[in-house]
């Protein structure tokens, strides 16, 4: 079987497999399709081997005693395995040639049952109020390996409950199973070693130093990796049971990193966001600031829900088709070069492509987007706070985002530009325009998810869907093409921006037969050279490398790769 020298034959539950040298037993089992239950092990963190849940039976070829003949190999070249009477942990041991692993059988089963029983001995049975319930490893494995009934008749160990360990995190020490994942995360990944164990034995307690706070911008990742409900998020606490929620795999749009995320929603409300593993983008982590920046989406008070048309200086509610018809009627009056468009680097490639179409339909003078710069944080946050600047470069052809906005301002003042379409942007808040600047315009149309000062000044306001309410693709800082998936429906008459632009183009006289974002992607892939040959399905949940931008991977990822190379972690 092992033709390449760096592959090792291992027997897992009676079937021979080959794995690269140095693979941990637990990973070998996983690759062979056998899940070994575990708590403390996390591929992105060091392995202390302390939960003892991953105990399996191991066997090696028997070592001949001096004078004895080595055992005869069978026709496949495998010698019979002599099984060890004591179990070993699968998470920290690496495989060896002709090793045998049993993840079933009496020894492994009794080990798991035993560890489960002990694990639950001092664990409070407060699943009903525990936010982790439903996605709790302890629950899952106790269903599989638990006794179903407790023999523990003693008083459980008392520990602090409901402890504020940080501004965003609550700690329940009684639920803690001392797997130390959070401690290791804060030590090894977040570089903010504020967590530690105090006391010892059964009284071991997870704690932050009195007076210190666990306030790292990556602290909420500990909630994700906590296998039980010991660490819970203040933001999500008691909001919704996990089994009610719909999971949508999409990407974060707070910066150009394009963190892969899962959006959890129920009945159109977003309840939480968690990072999704993508070793090319964000590993398993995401910053708290990005994670928690979704609440405005649920806040209907601040959302634009219906199109508005300005009549006699006042906005009036309008029907969507009415608003589009009105806008196109106004736009048709302008000559070539009198209309300008400000699009957004928060738009998807599909939307930008539609903007290009609109541009040719209207004979637009100028097109630009608003640039957003911030500071990179040495972990995952990029200095470019727009999610799709690379897409703007590639699809829209704007190479220097925001460069021509000053000129635009002047042209508006001088009356060269009479009509302006502001798509998914707020010029007054984000691009340094003033209401006075915009007053010079004859016609202003905006689309935006929330109420904003630019919309106040606009003649036609259209509610455009926000990132969680639309589908499409974006290109992140390193040139990776990733899919954005619609998690919830926009409120009221909110439509995805590409729909708005499509309807506007249609109303202006250009039919196009586009019915979905994938339709646009097809045209995009056919017309834009970088996309050649790609289909929507090719992108996958993990995205695909599209272009070379020359940007480096986020520092956190670089560090992680170094640790993988040194063998410290699996990765």
């Amino acid at each position: 079987m092992a033709e390449q020298s760096d592959l090792i034959d291992v027997e897992i539950d009676g079937v021979w497999h080959s794995f690269p040298k140095g693979t941990r037993m637990i990973e070998a089992c996983r690759q062979a399709g056998v899940e070994v239950p575990h708590y403390c092990y996390h591929p992105k963190l060091s392995s202390p081997g302390n939960c003892r849940m991953c105990l399996v039976q191991m066997g090696m070829p028997p070592r001949p005693r001096p004078g004895e003949d080595p055992p005869e190999p069978d026709e496949d070249g495998h010698v019979p395995i002599s099984w060890m009477p004591r179990p070993v942990i699968a998470c920290a041991n690496t495989i060896a040639p002709n090793m045998g692993i049993r993840t079933t059988g009496e020894l492994t089963e009794t080990c798991r049952e035993g560890v489960m029983e002990l694990m639950l001995a001092n664990h409070p049975l407060d699943c009903p109020i525990c936010d982790q319930a439903g996605e709790c490893s302890l629950q899952e494995f106790s269903v599989e390996h638990g006794k179903g009934e407790s023999r523990f008749r003693e008083q459980k160990v008392k520990k602090p409950k409901n402890v504020d360990v940080g501004p965003r995190i609550r700690l329940d020490d009684e639920r803690c199973i001392m797997c130390s994942r959070c401690i290791r995360f804060m030590d090894e990944v977040a570089d903010d070693p504020v967590l530690g164990f105090t006391d010892r034995g059964s009284h071991t307690t997870l704690a932050v130093y009195p007076g210190r706070e666990m306030d790292s911008n990556y602290s909420l990742n500990t909630v994700d990796i906590c296998p039980v409900g010991a660490l819970t998020s203040n933001d999500f606490r008691f909001q919704m049971r996990v089994w009610f929620m719909k999971e949508t795999q999409t990407i974060d749009t707070n910066c150009a990193t394009g963190t892969n995320i899962t959006v959890y929603s129920r009945q159109g409300q977003i309840y939480r966001i968690t990072p999704r593993q993508n070793n090319e983008v964000n590993s398993d982590w995401m910053p708290d600031s990005h994670r928690l920046s979704f609440h405005w989406i649920n806040d209907l008070e601040s959302r634009l829900t219906d199109p508005l048309i300005k009549e006699d200086g006042k906005h009036k509610l309008a029907d969507y088709s009415q608003a589009i018809a009105y806008a196109s009627q106004r736009l048709q009056k302008y000559d070539a070069g009198e209309v300008a468009i400000v699009a957004s680097a928060r738009m998807t490639n599909e939307e930008l492509y539609m903007v290009n179409k609109l541009k040719s339909q209207l004979d637009v003078r100028d097109i630009d987007v608003v640039a957003r710069r911030g500071e990179a944080d040495n972990y995952l946050i990029s200095d470019d706070r727009n999610p799709n600047t690379a897409g703007v470069n590639t699809v829209l052809g704007v190479k220097d985002p925001g460069a021509s906005l000053d000129l635009l301002k002047k042209d508006i003042a001088s009356g060269k530009v009479k009509a302006l379409l502001v798509l998914q942007e707020d010029l007054i808040s984000d691009a340094g325009f003033t209401a006075e600047d915009l007053k010079q315009l004859d016609f202003l149309l905006t689309s935006y998810p929330t109420t904003n000062p630019t919309a106040d000044a606009a003649d036609v306001v259209l509610p455009g869907a926000c990132w969680a309410e639309k589908s499409g693709t974006m290109i992140n800082a390193t040139g990776r093409l990733q899919r954005l998936n619609r998690a919830v429906d926009g409120p009221g008459q909110t439509l995805e921006p590409w729909e708005i632009i499509r309807d506007l183009i249609q109303e202006l006289g250009g039919g196009n037969g586009i019915y979905s974002a994938t339709d646009i992607f097809k045209q995009l892939a056919a017309e834009v050279s970088e996309f050649n040959g790609l289909t929507w399905g090719d992108i996958g949940d993990q995205g695909t490398q599209l272009i070379e931008t020359g940007a480096e991977l986020p520092p956190l990822l670089q560090r992680e790769r170094a640790r993988v190379a040194s063998g410290e972690i699996i990765g």
Binding site: P124, L125, D126, C127, I129, K161, N162, F238, W243
Partner: protein
């Protein structure tokens, strides 16, 4: 596998069916006479007569929330009943118990707990699934109202119906 059912072979008089019919008539006739003469009584005259006293222990009437001996809400808003409820009659909004509350240790309680009695099918799954012994199907069966709103039992009403239940397991005590 098909099962072949053999048809009975009928005698000639049986084929006439008349004796069969007569037999049937006798059966129904006997019932008729028995009921008419009051020898047999099955139906009860509701609402003058009620079976309340004889309702079985496990009778499944209106679901209600109960408190324990110390007027503590047993419900901790785990939302399992909301999950299991086949007609989706239950809606719960959990809230955190303020830290100065006597029962702050429990941390969580229902902020609102609504059961739409128009939807409720009295299946008792909520009672069965409840890990806190907080919801019980009471013997109340005459649930009426003059509007849909009235038929939605809110938390207050549910506790009113449920009342106090003693002798249940106290999971959230000082020892555990």
């Amino acid at each position: 596998m098909a099962i072949v059912v053999k048809r009975p072979k009928l005698r000639w008089w049986e084929q006439l069916y008349l004796p069969g019919i007569a037999k049937g008539l006798v059966v129904t006739g006997r019932h008729f006479i028995n009921t008419l003469t009051g020898r047999k009584k099955v139906t009860m005259q509701y609402p003058e007569e009620k079976w309340d006293a004889n309702l079985p222990e496990h009778y499944r009437g209106a679901p209600a929330l109960v408190t324990d001996e110390q007027q503590r809400e047993r419900c901790v808003a785990c939302q399992l009943c909301e999950f299991i409820c086949p007609p989706r009659a239950i809606t719960i909004k959990p809230e955190e118990i303020p830290s100065d509350d006597k029962w702050a240790k429990v941390e969580k309680r229902p902020g609102s707990f609504d059961i739409d009695m128009i939807r409720c099918i009295y299946c008792g799954m909520c009672e069965e699934v409840c890990p806190e012994q907080a919801i019980f199907l009471r013997k109340d069966y005459a649930i009426t109202g003059t509007s849909r709103d009235e038929m939605v039992h809110d938390k207050k009403k549910l506790y009113e119906i449920g009342g106090v239940r003693e002798g249940l397991v106290n999971k959230w005590n000082d020892l555990k």
